[in-house]
């Protein structure tokens, strides 16, 4: 386990005060990517309020550093898969914001032609495999992507995300067992945002250190400050490397927080306003990067404003597109059932 301890040291450093610095270009890229998620999700929330988006809509606001940090450490050929809190993963994988938003509004240009909605979108081209509405389901499916990688020996790694609530599903442990047994190249990323709907970690989990959930299967794990994109990138980089070298799976617990309700209708009774406020003020993943960029002196407020404006434009265009695009043709009801 020499390599394991190396991973732990590298990422352990990352998790602490000494998280390896990103170069300014990477900081800017992270800033832009996270901002795009935040603005997109805010817009989606507004459009939901206007009745343009229906059903369930789970926003990622507060968790941006997790998927962005992991993406920065991955290759384009690595696959991403997650559950229903998935808009950010799609944007980060390079899927077109217009078509993602159009799927949210149930229009014909959406990634699933309007037949999937917020929770079910895919892009084979961008190696994004959903978008799954069933809690826990991404775990074995993600391991299956890794099975295919190992079968082909193509060196790709599956980045498999699920919530800490999902981590209590039996199938997750069935998957851990097979993944380690067959040395599958999969990084399991538990997005521990402290709540599964209204149930806090403490009220649902006997072992609240999710990085240890692989211990019974000899899967190395690491707890990471998921609000710090640098720490996420460092940990993900080491974990992906571990997998790519054929050592089997790796488990990352990303400690993060969602600012918004579970879905659009949320009673907001299970946690205090102060708790949410404190996280936003003290740990916001975007503000952290912004502060560093300014402090560094190499990036001006003006430059950041330009990025803000560009991101707002992308999101506004996506919203316009998704509002104006037509609904699917009624004939689409019958297509894509079988090939």
């Amino acid at each position: 386990m020499a390599a394991a301890s190396k991973v732990e040291t590298e990422a352990g450093e990352a998790a602490g005060a000494a998280a390896p610095a990103l170069d300014p270009e990477q900081e800017l890229a992270a800033y832009r990517a996270m901002l795009l998620i935040r603005r997109f999700e805010e817009k989606a929330g507004q459009m939901y309020g206007m009745g343009l988006i229906g059903g369930f809509c789970h926003l990622y606001i507060g968790q941006e550093a997790v998927v962005v940090g992991v993406r920065m450490a991955a290759r384009d050929s690595d696959q991403f898969i997650t559950a229903y809190r998935d808009h950010a993963h799609m944007l980060t994988c390079g899927m077109d914001p217009k078509r993602v938003m159009a799927e949210l509004t149930g229009r014909r240009s959406g990634y699933s032609k309007g037949k999937g909605g917020s929770m079910h979108m895919f892009s084979r081209e961008k190696n994004f495999f959903g978008g799954h509405g069933v809690v826990g389901a991404p775990a074995p499916i993600g391991a299956g992507l890794a099975f295919a990688n190992r079968y082909r020996g193509d060196g790709s790694v599956s980045l498999t995300f699920f919530g800490e609530g999902a981590a209590n599903q039996g199938q997750v442990y069935e998957t851990f067992n097979m993944a380690e047994l067959w040395k599958l190249p999969v990084v399991f990323i538990v997005e521990n945002n402290r709540y599964a709907m209204g149930t806090s970690v403490e009220r649902s989990s006997a072992q609240t250190e999710f990085s240890k959930r692989g211990v019974a299967f000899n899967i190395p794990g690491l707890r990471v400050d998921g609000m710090d994109v640098r720490a996420v990138k460092a940990a993900a980089g080491a974990a992906i490397d571990w997998c790519r070298k054929g050592n089997g799976p790796y488990l990352l617990e990303m400690q993060t927080y969602r600012y918004r309700g579970h879905s659009m209708s949320d009673p907001a009774k299970y946690r205090s306003r102060e708790e949410v406020q404190k996280m936003r003020e003290e740990h916001d993943p975007i503000e952290q990067v912004r502060a560093r960029l300014i402090a560094d002196g190499r990036t001006s407020e003006d430059e950041l404003k330009k990025i803000d404006a560009a991101v707002r434009k992308i999101v506004a265009d996506a919203a316009d597109f998704a509002s104006e695009d037509r609904e699917p043709d009624p004939s689409e009801l019958w297509t894509d059932v079988v090939m």
Binding site: Q79, I81, G110, Y111, S112, K113, G114, K115, G116, H120, M121, F122, S123, R124, F129, G130, G131, H132, G133, V134, A137, A139, P140, I141, G142, A143, G144, L145, A146, F147, A148, N149, Y151, S158, G170, Q171, E174, T175, N177, M178, L181, W182, T335, D336, V337, V338, M339
Partner: protein
């Protein structure tokens, strides 16, 4: 005192087996529970244990002997210091097998004119008289019907087989194995995954030899984690591989149902046609013999309801081969429902390269003009058996083997009903919302004016499968019930 060790049965209906090897020699001291020999059938191996303490005085059947009838004395154990020649007291040797072996039983067809009775099962927990006192099923029939005769090993008649084809006789088990092996040779993306598919050669020996030919990379033994390996295989299929997932039986696929339905069947639609799932879920479905409710359910109707799935249930070796090959090449998730009792049945399989049977096409298994029977899988045994019976009275039944349940070849059913005016649907599954219910609805909708009687259904009874032999027989359909249903729709 000396005791005879008898050839044990692996199942209540096993009639003979092979003595593979002796693990003790004459003169060895044995304790009760010591494994003294190994016996084999085409499906399984079993250890024979000594039931008593003593000396293995004589080996009556040398290792390697084949076709030893059940209950034949194979050795004599003498008490210490005793001669091995005294009276032959039959002792039922304790048998040891693994859980799934209990499922590996064949409801072997009884010999002509003989009832499948307790006679061939020494340890059967009922006497024949009791069996006859069994309560009638819903007053339909007083006497429990005989076990169905097997489907005649007739040459399959199907448009996909050229007239000049030659045939080889093989079991459905062999046909399925050949189909998989051929497809694995053809496409490196095809692999088989499931419990005991590799080293053990398949719980029901369907994957026999595949590990040896294709290696552990493509013949993958899993832990006992149906939910997990079904999901994992779906992921592999999303990524472009072509998994064949074997469920030891479909009863255990219930743990994986979420991935079969929510992940495999719906993703093509939910992704607007982007992500297909080329996967086959296969394994024995429905009642085996004497394994009771949790191991005996027919899931045909459950799966046949789901858009996004294709569902196949072959009745003979030829269809099994041609359809499994088509299933493996299909870009969609296919549920391939086999039947344990049919595994050992021989029939003629055409020697055709790339023998493919199109999914969704029924087959007229027997032509007739008076009444249409529609069935599939083992239900065909009852339907064809009843057609034989009725022929003696001059009634000509047409028998349609659906072969595929989704998409269902309704046109074939309707065409036949237009000719006969009468329809009986036959299946082992439960009646409510069953395949027969669907057939009745379709026939009513599409051939109402041609019907001379309401569509009748012969199904498994609306109860969990009982264990007792007599009750089990009552719970299943029978030839007599199909004959009675035919008479009812013919008003005879």
């Amino acid at each position: 005192m000396t005791v005879n060790v008898l050839m044990p049965a692996l199942s209540p209906t096993m009639e003979q087996g092979k003595l593979a090897k002796w693990l003790k020699s004459e003169g060895d001291h044995v304790k009760a529970g010591d494994v003294i020999a190994e016996i084999e059938t085409d499906k399984a191996t079993m250890e024979v244990e000594a039931a008593d303490e003593g000396v293995l005085a004589r080996i009556l059947t040398p290792a390697g002997t084949e076709n030893i009838a059940v209950n034949t004395p194979i050795a004599v154990i003498a008490g210490e210091g005793e001669e091995a020649s005294s009276a032959e007291v039959p002792a039922a040797p304790a048998v040891k097998g693994e859980e799934e072996r209990k499922g590996e039983k064949e409801r072997a067809p009884p010999a002509k004119g003989e009832e499948a009775s307790s006679a061939e099962v020494p340890a059967a927990p009922f006497a024949k008289g009791e069996e006859e006192r069994a309560p009638p099923a819903r007053g339909e029939e007083q006497r429990p019907p005989a076990r169905p005769a097997p489907a005649p090993a007739a040459r399959p008649v199907a448009p996909e087989i050229p007239a000049d084809a030659t045939f080889a006789s093989m079991t459905m088990r062999e046909a399925l194995r050949d189909a998989m092996a051929e497809e694995m040779r053809r496409d490196p993306n095809v692999f088989i995954i499931g419990e005991e598919v590799a080293e053990y050669q398949g719980a029901y020996k369907v994957t026999q030899g595949l590990l040896q030919e294709f290696g552990a990379r493509r013949v993958v033994d899993t832990p006992i984690t149906e939910h997990g390996f079904a999901g994992l295989s779906v992921g592999a299929a999303f990524a472009g591989l072509r998994p064949i997932v074997e469920f030891m039986t479909f009863n255990f696929a219930m743990q994986a149902m979420d991935h079969l339905i929510n992940s495999a069947a719906k993703t093509l639609y939910m992704s607007g046609g982007q992500i297909n799932c080329p996967i086959v879920f296969r394994g024995p479905n429905g009642a085996a013999a004497r394994v009771a409710a949790q191991h005996s359910q027919d899931y045909a109707a459950w799966f046949a309801q789901v858009p996004g799935l294709k569902v196949i249930a072959p009745s003979n070796a030829s269809d099994a081969k041609g359809l499994l090959k088509s299933a493996i090449r299909d870009p969609n998730p296919v549920i391939f429902l086999e039947n344990e009792i049919l595994y050992g049945r021989q029939s003629e399989v055409p020697n055709i390269e790339d023998f493919l049977i199109p999914i969704g096409k029924a087959r007229v298994a027997r032509e007739g003009k008076d009444v249409t029977f529609v069935s599939f899988s083992i239900g065909m045994s009852y339907a064809l058996g009843a057609a034989d019976e009725l022929a003696k009275e001059g009634v000509e039944a047409e028998v349609i083997d659906l072969r595929t349940l989704r998409p269902m070849d309704v046109a074939a059913i309707v065409a036949s009903v237009k000719k006969t005016g009468r329809c009986v649907a036959v299946e082992e599954g439960w009646p409510q919302c069953g395949i027969g219910a669907e057939i009745a609805a379709k026939v009513m909708a599409e051939a109402f004016d041609y019907l001379d009687a309401p569509v009748a259904r012969v199904t498994g009874k609306d109860v969990p499968m009982p264990y007792a032999a007599n009750l089990e027989k009552l719970a299943l359909p029978s030839i007599a019930e199909v004959v009675a249903a035919a008479r009812a729709v013919l008003y005879r």
